[in-house]
Symmetry: C2
Amino acid sequence: MTEMHKILDGENETKINIFRVAAKLFAEKGYNGVSMREISEMSKVSKPTIYYYFGSKEGVFKELVNFGLHYGSAQAKQIAALDIPVKQRLVKIIQSRFRISFEHPDFSKFFLMVFVTSENLPFLDEFKKQANIHRQLLVDLIQEGVDSGEFGAGANPQLASEIIGAVMGHFIGKQLKIKKKFLTSDLAEEIVELLFKGLNE
Amino acid sequence: MTEMHKILDGENETKINIFRVAAKLFAEKGYNGVSMREISEMSKVSKPTIYYYFGSKEGVFKELVNFGLHYGSAQAKQIAALDIPVKQRLVKIIQSRFRISFEHPDFSKFFLMVFVTSENLPFLDEFKKQANIHRQLLVDLIQEGVDSGEFGAGANPQLASEIIGAVMGHFIGKQLKIKKKFLTSDLAEEIVELLFKGLNE
DNA sequence: TTTCCTCTACCTACCGGTAAGTAATCAGCG
DNA sequence: CGCTGATTACTTACCGGTAGGTAGAGGAAA
């Protein structure tokens, strides 16, 4: 049983299957690009079965979002609390994200899509709030590095965290588009290294 | 007459209006989230008028993409050819992008959406090819900086250009979501400065 | 017998796209 | 100059098809 199944445990097998299929389809074609008929055909159940479990198309989508919110934030929080240099924690957080995107490409792709198009969907306010809380985690982490003297005093935590977030998102997005694996632990280190040292060195 | 109108010159006023409305709607809701009825109502023409000018929904979208490709690449190429330090050219390219996104938010939003969306539309292969050519411009620029000794020899041009591209996209996307202007020329400098010096300083 | 799950059959609203027609402009000819 | 036939720039009315969603029946398990 995968880690993901643990979270989804207690749920009906049919429901989990619909869940996975929907994640994949939404990730590929966006919310409006996917029809309930499509989901039902690919999960080999009838349309009303999906309505029985999720209530509506929006319901399927929201449940997927909540799952991702729950699944993704736990690990980052854990790493942020470790007693190692901030820089190493940053590397670990990025590595963790890279790993998740490799182990669950469909869900990751879905979630990245939600991130990127969140303004388009009118029912994602709760998601936006959660995403901001999660972003703040990075800001606090870098602030900690500045306060402790690990980073230069001139570093702007707000700006730096946005840059790290953007870069992380970019590489995960790139990985999810191609087949060949390039998102290694080493790359995570290289990225952090480059952001620390800058292009000058 | 704006710069944009110059490019669209020779085109009928009605067509330009449909063009603008479509850009805004597509940017807000994605390709599949917008209907031809919606475009026609907002541009105050009948639906067949849109078909008269663009042939199909896909036609509207593609023409928008081609316009953006043409409009966006010209300035970057010009800047890349200037006889000033690479770092300054990078700043200028980012500033130029910031300015475009400020002057034409609807078109920029549309274009960013096309770049970033995972609503992966089956008719955008040509666009992807063009986008890659454009990406290469940044790689070459940084390579030039490494060759001339302006950047450290250890800098990885491929990685660095991806990071710069990702960060640029992130900030433009952020600006387009909020009303208050924060995408200044100074911020462009600050970003490049941070990427050069790194968090260490 | 009730509860849970899943189905077939169907709804209304809207989709992208088109057929057919028309008002206005314009070029060329007598 | 006035007439004519073509062209441009649109319109109304409609098409077949598909969207999200539902009513209600059937079957299995308890």
